[in-house]
Symmetry: none
Subunit: 208 residues, 4 copies
């Protein structure tokens, strides 16, 4: 009933498959099979497999309904609150139980970037990174050079990314129980926010 033209159908099935298997291991035959179109359709609509992949990466933006909206705050919101919200959004995206294929795809691109990496960064990451920098701009003194702001931003992102990328390792190191007890999203938000604010002098450090 919805947009069921071949092009859209291909794009819809391609994303999850690419996300699951990676670019190389995915066959256009499987994609076309699931999309109920002829193999030649990919060539017709996208030129070749690479272009289809790029398109799928771009499309990974808004999957089914709501676009990955940027956060917004009422005027007067403190940067501390904004930072916490941002960290929470980040962790939620990364760790949510039913990992959407978009996230999986992005992961792959991060670890083994393909030709589509730039597209991906521009479509998904640049804006969010900019927003994080804006928040840091409110926190850090004006004379901190840009590259230092970037490094701080990466320090924050890195803390969150770690739980996504090395989740298996985390479990092994601390055990299932501790994991269950202390690594829920909200707890991690608390920790990372506090750790980062303390590093910037806006929260009291762990050791006095």
């Amino acid at each position: 009933m919805s947009e069921d033209d071949a092009r859209t159908r291909i794009l819809n099935v391609a994303g999850p498959i690419f996300a699951e298997k990676g670019f190389q291991a995915t066959t256009i035959r499987e994609i076309c099979g699931q999309a109920n179109v002829n193999v030649a359709a990919v060539n017709y609509h996208f030129g070749d497999k690479e272009h289809l992949y790029t398109e799928a990466v771009k499309r990974a933006h808004q999957p089914s309904g709501q676009p990955d909206e940027l956060l917004e705050w009422p005027p007067g919101t403190t940067p501390e609150t904004k930072l916490r919200d941002q960290i929470k959004a980040m962790l939620t995206r990364m760790l949510s139980e039913r990992t959407p294929w978009q996230r999986q795809l992005m992961n792959r691109e991060m670890l083994e970037p393909t030709f589509a990496c730039r597209e991906l960064v521009e479509a998904h990451i640049r804006d969010r990174f900019g927003q994080l920098l804006d928040i840091l701009g409110e926190i850090l003194p004006a004379d901190v050079p840009a590259y230092r702001c970037h490094q701080v931003a990466f320090s924050i992102v890195g803390q969150a990314l770690h739980y996504h990328v090395a989740s298996h390792v985390v479990t092994v190191l601390v055990g299932e129980e501790e994991r269950e007890a202390h690594y829920q999203i909200d707890q991690l938000v608390d920790h990372i926010t506090q750790f980062s604010l303390a590093a910037m002098g806006l929260a009291s450090p762990l050791a006095p």
Copy 2:
């Protein structure tokens, strides 16, 4: 007189190749070509490609010479210094150009564990993680619960891991020039150490 029989030769060349390209992208032909053996040799000696991979990963355990040694310090070394050394070692392992293939392979397995022996991977990290916890033990008050120490450790590791895992994204975000200018290993060591110490109250924060 040394072991230059076909089986060993295959194993010797397989490691680096798998490390560089990953399991799937590696072809049996390339391995056999470099090992100067017939393509059939892999199947003959190892059954199939997967078994060869498993064997190669196992072999990655102890490099030809010394295993990745733990750091050691003379008595009286401050925890700040130890932490910095540890961070430097971590970043060096992750980012150095001339990474031995064993590390490369481990990295792959860490982020995307395959059928091949994840135990090996775990053994590989646990020691180092323990050492980091020891250092934090010297810094943090004794009443900080274990899980909080773990979280701090992950925050530190995460900051470093980020530059390994998202290196391409970093480049796209900040541009080649800033990258060249401000993201050399030593500069990152400075930043991460300072950021982390500040978070723990042992260094002055960026914002007063």
Copy 3:
């Protein structure tokens, strides 16, 4: 108001493309692309690729303007001059860089006749062959039988045709340099004219 309908446009671009690449190497897509029509247009207007080719060959008959004109001489012109002019015209047709596509197409058909109208080809040469025979008639004694005149004519044509048909081989045999230096059209005209006239007793032979 002119005929810029799809059918005509296709026909117009098809000729040069077929001429340059031959029937098989030409794709319907390229033709339609250049003609700014849908790929389906060829099948719609011409049935299939072969019919389009046939039509294009037919159309090659009379170029947009004047047909390939026969040479003409003022009365009293010596047969030697006529022969040289004829040879020059022949070589020019065969070797000139800017050969109109009609000639190119004819050449193809001449050497490897396809299903498409070989009559056209024949009509194309007969006149010129007749003119060459007329010139020879002025040179050779009247009692030389017709078939001998034909053979002489073929000997002359053959010498010229060789440079068209085996041009690449010539280059490989004598090298680029000699080719550049001694196989320009005018030089070949000199040689072939002199060689042929000598064979007929109207010029001094190379060896005394």
Copy 4:
């Protein structure tokens, strides 16, 4: 009973097929089908289709039994005789009733040279061309420059080649009957030899 290994079998069937259909129109499937081997065999033995083609062109040398031997003469043979023999050999190769596929292949290469053209020239043409030049060297004065000898040689070759390349056109122009009556190999040998010798001053010209 003879060499019926796959590689040889492929090579044996590839020649005639390539000759008949040309490089592009030939499918390795057809070749492998006729050779009773798997499609992958071409890749295994020759790398790819192009290399197989090149190999087939090279192999076009000695078809079934005797290699295409160079002519030899007893000492004291006159250059006129040698030239006639050479022309006869050339025409025989070109016009023999049951056109061997080798000839067909060479034809194709001449008109539309592929990547294998150089191979072909070196394997089939260079020696024979050299021999022809040797004969001309005995005939022409020593001070005739090399390039002029080449041109004379091409004039001789061209006359013969014409009957091969334009055979269809010849028939159309002179009719079946004259063709049957006056264009048998020996008659053409007579004509071309006489025409060429006359051009060089070693025979009496057609016109006194």
